[in-house]
Amino acid sequence: MDALEAKYAAAKRYSETAMGLVFLLCGVLAVAFVLLISAYLILSGLPAIREVGLLDFLFGPVWAPTHKTEPQFGILPFILTSVYGTAGAVAVGVPVGFLTAMFLSKLAPRRLAAVVRTAVDLLSGIPSVVYGLVGMTVLVPAVRRVFRLPSGATLLAAILVLSVMILPSIISVSETALNAVPREYEEASLALGATETETWFRVSAPAASSGIAAAVVLGIGRAIGEAMAIMMVAGNVANMPGLFKSVRFLTTAIASEMSYAGVGSLQRSALYSIALVLFLFIMLINVILNLWFKNKREG
C-alpha cells in the first residue's frame, strides 16, 4: 500500500466515524424531543388535575370553565367525542380503504389503478383546513337537509370528514401489505378450486393482516389527533356526544380556548391537562396495538 492510498483510507475511516456520530446525534435528538415533550406535558398538565381532582376532571360531564360563580372542568364530553369520532371514522374509513386497496392490488387494470392511486396521493396532500372548508360548505348543509336538523354541524359530519382524511394512509398501507402477499399462496388457493374473490378475502387479506392492522393504527392516530377540519364541521359545543349533536373533541377543546384563556388561569392549565390526556390516549393505543401485534406474530 503506498502513501497516497494509506492517506485515502485514513480519510475514509475518519469520515465514517464522523458520519456515525451524526447518525447517533440525530437518534439522540429524536429521543430527546420525545422526552422533552412528555416532561413538559406532564409538568404543565398536572396542576389543574390536582386542583380539580382526577375523577372530577376525567368523568365530569360539564365543561364550563368561565362560569362566574361555579366554573366546572369536566372533560368527559371531549373524551367520549374523541373516542366516538375516531371509532366512527375507523368504522367507515377502514372498510372503504381496505376494499379500495384490494381493488388496486388485485383487480384494477393497470391504467385505472394508476389514476386511482394518483387521486389517493392528492387526497393525502390536501391540508386539513381545506377539508374543513369543503366540509363546512358542502357536507354540513347536506347533513342538515338529509336528516332535517336545525344545524348540520354535528358529530356525524366530523366522522365523515375524518373518514375521508384517514383513507389515503389506510389505502396505501393496506395496498403495500396486499402486494407483498406471495403469489404462491394465491395460486395454492385457486388450485384448490377457490374463486378469485374467495382467494383475496380468505388468503390474501389474512396473510396481509398485520399490514392492514398497521393501517388501522395509522388511521386511529391521524383521526384522534386531527383538530382543524373537525373544528369547522362539528359545531364545537361542549355537549355530551350524539351523532346529530354539535360536539367538541379533545383537540378542538384545546385549540378553541387557548387563544383567550387567561395566562395563569385554571382554565388555561386545564387545557394543558387535556393535552396530557390526549397524549396518554395516543400512547395507550400504540402500546395496546403493539402488544396485539406481538401476540399475533408469536401465536
Binding site: 406471495p182 404462491e184 399462496y185 395460486e187 395454492a188 388457493s189 385457486l190 388450485a191 384448490l192 378450486g193 377457490a194 374463486t195 374467495e198 380468505r202 388468503v203 389474512p206 396473510a207
Partner: protein, 250 residues
Amino acid sequence: MDILSTRGLDLWYGDNQALKHIDMDIPERQVTALIGPSGCGKSTFLKTLNRMNDLVPAVRVEGLVTYRERDIYAPGTDVTWLRRQVGMVFQKPNPFPMSIYDNIAYGPRIHGVRSKARLDDIVERSLKGAAIWDEVKDRLKKSALSLSGGQQQRLCIARALAVEPDVLLMDEATSALDPISTSKIEDLITELKEHYTIIIVTHNMQQATRISDTCAFFLLGELIEFGQTTQMFSMPRDKRTEDYITGRFG
C-alpha cells in the same frame, strides 16, 4: 381407461409457442411422469390440465383437452369445479400462513363444509392419506410454517386431498426436498395411485423409473415419446429420448 386426453394441443405465451400439437391420453389410476430438459414445456402442459394457465396474461390455448370426456376449455366450463377434480401440488411447498388444521380445512370450507365434526374428520383423513398424521396430530393448531420442508410438502398434498380430487398434478414436488423426505413422498405417491390418477413432473430419471407407470418425454414443446415407463427406459423408440435418459444432454 383414459381420464385426461389432449388432441392437437397448442399453447402460446404471447408469440412464443410453448406446446406444439400435443396428443396424449393419460391412463386412470396410474402414475404418469413428464420428463424432459428445462423449458421444454412440462409445467406448461401440466397447467393446461387444471387451467392454471388462465392466470398467465397473454396465454393462448388451441386444440382439445378433455377430462372424463368433457372439453375443459369449452365456454361455460366451471374452472373451480375442474380444479377441484384436478388438484395440484407445487414445486415449492406453499402452505398458507395459517394453522395446520386450517390449511387442510381451507378447501372443504371453500366448498361449503361447515360442520366441525366433518371438518375434523376430513382433516384427519387427509393428513393420514398424506402420511403425516402421526407427525402433526398433536399440534394441529400450530402454524404450518413451523413444519420442515418435507412435512410442508406432505401437508400440501394433504391439503390437495382434502377436496377429494380425482387427479393430482405434481410439478417437481420433491426437487426442493432432502432424500429422506423425497423417498417418503415417493412411497406416498405409490400408495395414492390406488385411488387417484397422478401426473408428476420430474428431473430425476431414477424417480421416474421408480414410481411411474407411463412416461412422456418432452423436447422444445413437442411430445417426442409417450408410453410405458419400463419400455421407454429399456428400449426407447426415439434417438432423442435415448440421449436424454442416458444423460447425454439436458
